[in-house]
């Protein structure tokens, strides 16, 4: 399985995701944002962290970079695309995923381990998880407060496009378990063809028991299938 990680100026979780992918036996390449073509690849990852300092809006400027046109082309052809954290923000800025990520409701950067649960395990990203399985995963963001219009929200629900929701350790999704104010506790969504996943939590931080836990492993092993 070949993967490509896009690197923008100021990206900072690019190495982390590359390490995780390699650990999971992906053949990974880093792709600089000024490239105009992508190598042959089965998975494109837009990493977390920051891009261009996220000075205007998170992901806005990266969303205009040269390589993004290629990413959009690959997406249309069904290539798998994973956007983590800033990557999710970039995907919404490019329109590959609908909605947007507003500032956290407490107006502060939040870094902590939170619980999310798997809402749909019939996708290439999540097949190794059980339905409603609760994962403990690290979040680190300033703008993770997912927002979309009511029509799209309905579509997300009807078509089973919500990948993960914030919850408590028993799987209840409620106000207390929502760290950032996201609409309906949404932590990650698919596009309608389910070849694109955007998520705020960082699965690449959860593949090493020495550092945290290995709740992120199955996301990568699902992709390997």
């Amino acid at each position: 399985m070949r993967s490509s990680v896009i690197v923008f100026p100021g990206s900072n979780c690019d190495r982390d995701i590359a390490v995780a992918l390699e650990k999971m036996q992906f053949k990974n390449q880093m792709v600089w944002h000024k490239e105009t073509s992508l190598p042959k690849t089965d998975l494109i990852v837009i990493p977390g962290g920051f891009s261009y300092g996220d000075y205007l809006r998170s992901g806005a400027i990266a969303g205009k970079s040269l390589i993004i046109d290629e990413v959009i082309k690959f997406a249309k052809n069904g290539c798998l695309i994973l956007g983590i954290c800033n990557g999710f923000q970039i995907l919404t800025e490019t329109g590959l995923l609908k909605g947007t990520l507003l500032r956290n409701k407490n107006l502060k950067f939040i870094n902590k381990d939170v619980n999310i649960k798997v809402l749909n395990n019939k996708t290439q990203f999540t097949s190794k998880y059980r339905i409603n399985q609760v994962l403990n995963i690290n979040i680190a963001h300033n703008e993770g407060n997912y927002f979309t219009d009511s029509k799209h929200l309905q579509e997300l629900k009807n078509d089973n496009l919500i990948a993960f929701k914030y919850c408590d350790n028993k799987g209840n999704t409620n106000l207390e378990s929502n760290p950032n104010g996201a609409l309906d506790n949404i932590a990650g969504i698919f596009n309608s063809k389910k070849n694109i996943l955007g998520m705020m939590p960082h699965p690449e931080r959860m593949v090493d028991k020495f550092i945290s836990n290995d709740d992120g492993v199955n996301l990568f092993s699902s992709l390997l299938n």
């Binding site: 996220d54 000075y55 939040i110 870094n111 090493d208 550092i211």
Partner: protein, 726 residues
């Protein structure tokens, strides 16, 4: 421009210092040259009041690759790996503009570390605010914390440890100290010493603006009521550009294009060029028209004194220009050759082909005045506090009072705003005795921590500063690390006051004694004087940042109880020293008397023994005992783990408050499984370490025999409420 006394004073120079300048130059300086002198000769850059004392600190050791004198200290951690680290203050700018002041403090210390060829792998900070009831404290706290996070999160380096304290002594002068730790290859360390003639001097990074002009002299003058009015141009941090600069520098450092490199920190272009030239006994000529400027019509004076952030000066090897330029352009950064080295030993500044200033480098760098300022020993006042004569309180209430106080509350309100996990090597985050960072791709790790004890240092500087070093050492031991070396940030008041200078001299003496005894050398540091307002100086606050090595990552430990029914051992002797304790301060507002004595012999023996216990896998959790004493330390072990404890009351107890809250030094708590107890006791006896078996872990409840019994959940709540209600 005629140089009047007023102009001299505005430059922070004393009249007799100006006379020295005239004598050394054998003429009058022009205004540009005066500006350069003021930048190089102020307290911040020249260490004129501290130098003779700093010399006493032990700076050498088997593991020391580079001690003080370079951008940061460097230690050897084996396998050709080196750790580069330093701490620095950004107190004054952070008081004026907390977000940007703190952010640029982080940016500055990061540059000190990556100039030396190290990739930064961890950030720490020590932040001190005024009383929580002071009207400014809340917004300063908010601004500083988000500024530290804003910079570190954006550049992508985890902020993993620190300390957050409140004390009214900082009401008008907060402390913001930031520490950065980087990883380099031992044979690829970069220094600032210029070498060779006619080498290109290259400016890289951001453009130069009018920001921060005279920032360094601001850091060397006391505040008065007007300083907020004066509105000095505060720098705005740009972590995005710094990230680009970091990657570009590390990329260029892969081969040997660089002869010397120096970040432009305080006093920007001036101090960086002077430093490089002086270390190499060379001259440097700069063509200032080439300096990339952000604003129109900037004068040579402004260019030389600007403190714009995110800039570096590099001396390049011949023939490497094209290669280097390509790298910086790839990262969208300015790259301009602005001068060259020569053998004149002068700093020569040209503008439009005209020499605007010329000063022998030697004069700037080494002829700055050095003061042996008057100092007096602290008059120590022995005072025994008789608890029996105080208002009666319950043990449980005293504990709750401490655990819910601002200084002892859980700091996750702060640390949740920092990305602690980025880089995916954080084994142990904030909240433990020391943070543990894995060396990428290996099975070893380093432990890092910062500590201070201003109250102790105020009442008895000599013992207080010794205690800070020991506490730092203990924190490293507690997570299973061999302590290696420290960096220090010495935050003091006005050195022209002999009492303050006495605090400084005695604190240095204390640090020296502890470091020498523990073989814990000082490899870098920073002095910040003039903290205070209107003649009222802050408490002496030396902050110690320590680094230790954990050779095998599987042998690191934290302080959370692991299992029910383990034995809890208290290591080190408890005398019940209650003066200067947080028990008296929080419950009775008493802050008289002396801090606990330090017995370096016991300190070392106890610590080394605990480390052996950890390495032999004989203990399952370890916590050092510091502020708050035994009972607070025990509660912290419970709170993090959800396991409770049952603590026996010792038979011959003089006073339970002294026993449970006394702050005697050199003590640890360890958790020992039943099966290992015998082995542990044997080792303690063999090493002549004093210990007591004080209780057992248990489920859910934290209790002291025949005193109180409280749910761990409740303890957690008590410990976690203050920040959220503030």
């Amino acid at each position: 421009m005629k140089i009047t006394n007023e102009i001299i004073e505005k430059h922070g120079l004393k009249l007799d210092e100006y006379k020295t300048i005239q004598k050394l130059l054998k003429r009058n300086p022009n205004i540009l040259e005066l500006g350069i002198f003021s930048a190089m000769w102020n307290e911040h850059c020249s260490y004129k009041s501290s130098r003779i004392h700093l010399k006493k600190l032990p700076t050498k050791g088997k593991k020391v690759i580079q001690g003080p004198g370079e951008n940061a200290g460097v230690i050897d951690i084996g396998d050709n790996d080196a750790i580069v680290f330093k701490i620095e203050s950004h107190n004054h700018p952070s008081y004026i503009e907390p977000y940007q002041g703190a952010a640029t403090g982080v940016g500055g210390i990061l540059r000190d570390v990556f100039t030396m060829g190290a990739r930064p792998i961890a950030l720490l900070n020590s932040i001190h605010f005024g009383s929580t009831t002071h009207p400014k404290t809340k917004s300063l706290l908010n601004g500083v914390v988000s500024g530290i996070g804003g910079y570190g999160n954006c550049i992508g380096i985890p902020t993993v440890a620190g300390e957050t304290k409140f004390n009214e002594t900082y009401n008008e002068n907060i402390l913001v100290n930031a520490m950065a730790v980087g990883l380099a290859k031992k044979n690829k360390i970069f220094y600032s010493k210029a070498k060779g003639l006619n080498k290109a001097v290259v400016y890289v990074g951001s453009k130069t603006g009018r920001d921060g002009i005279h920032g360094a002299s601001m850091a060397s003058a006391e505040f008065d009521e007007n300083s907020e009015e004066k509105k000095p141009t505060v720098q705005v941090g740009d972590p995005f550009t710094e990230k680009l600069l970091l990657e570009a520098c590390l990329e260029l450092m892969k081969d040997d294009s660089i002869i010397a490199i120096q970040d432009m920190g305080a006093a920007g272009l001036t101090s960086s060029s002077v430093e490089m030239a002086s270390k190499g006994s060379l001259g440097i000529e700069l063509e200032l028209d080439k300096v990339p400027c952000r604003e129109d019509n900037m004068s040579p004076y402004e260019m030389m004194l600007s403190e714009s952030q995110e800039r570096m000066l590099i001396i390049l090897e011949d023939g490497k220009e094209h290669h280097a330029r390509k790298i910086f352009e790839k990262w969208d950064l300015d790259f301009v050759i602005i001068g060259k080295t020569n053998n004149s030993k002068n700093l020569t500044l040209k503008y439009n082909n005209k020499i605007e200033g010329e000063i022998p480098v030697e004069i700037l760098a080494t002829k700055a005045p050095i003061y042996d300022r008057k100092w007096v020993k602290k008059k120590v006042v022995q005072k025994k506090i008789a608890i029996k004569q105080l208002k009666k309180i319950k043990l449980e209430d005293a504990l709750i009072k401490i655990l819910s106080s601002p200084n002892h509350s859980n700091k996750s309100w702060v640390t949740d705003q920092y990305d602690q996990m980025v880089m995916c090597d954080t084994v142990q985050k904030s909240g433990s005795d020391a943070a543990v960072i894995r060396i990428h791709n290996t099975s070893k790790a380093i432990a890092v921590t910062v500590d201070s004890s201003a109250n102790y240092c105020k009442s008895f500087p000599l013992t207080g500063s010794k205690q800070v070093v020991c506490e730092n050492w203990r924190n490293l031991i507690s997570v299973g690390a061999n302590p290696i070396a420290i960096t220090n940030c010495l935050n003091f008041g006005n050195p022209e006051n002999k009492e303050i200078m006495g605090e400084f001299a005695e604190c240095i003496q204390g640090i020296k004694e502890a470091c020498e005894f523990l073989n814990f050398p000082v490899v870098s540091g920073n002095v910040s004087f003039y903290n205070g307002t209107n003649q009222k100086s802050i408490f002496p606050t030396p902050v110690i940042g320590g680094v230790g090595l954990i050779p095998d990552i599987s042998k690191t430990l934290n302080h959370y109880f692991k299992k029910e029914n383990s034995n809890i051992l208290l290591i080190g002797k408890t005398f019940g020293h209650i003066e200067q304790s947080c028990f008296l301060k929080e419950n009775f507002s008493i802050s008289e008397g002396l801090p606990p004595e330090i017995n370096l012999n016991n300190e070392k023996n106890n610590g080394e023994t605990v480390l052996q216990l950890i390495r032999k896998n004989l203990v399952t959790s370890v916590h050092d005992i510091s502020s708050g004493g035994l009972l607070v330390a025990l509660s912290e072990m419970s709170i993090g783990s959800n396991l409770g404890a049952k603590i026996y009351k010792p038979k011959k107890l003089t006073n339970k408050f002294e026993y449970f809250f006394g702050e005697d030094q050199g003590r640890y708590i360890v958790e020992v499984e039943k099966t290992d107890l015998e082995k542990v006791i044997k080792m303690l006896n063999d090493n002549e370490v004093y210990y007591e078996n004080i209780g057992k872990t248990q489920a859910k409840n934290f209790e002291v025999e025949s005193e109180f019994n409280i749910g761990v959940n409740d303890l957690f709540k008590i410990n976690n409420q203050w920040y959220n209600n503030y």
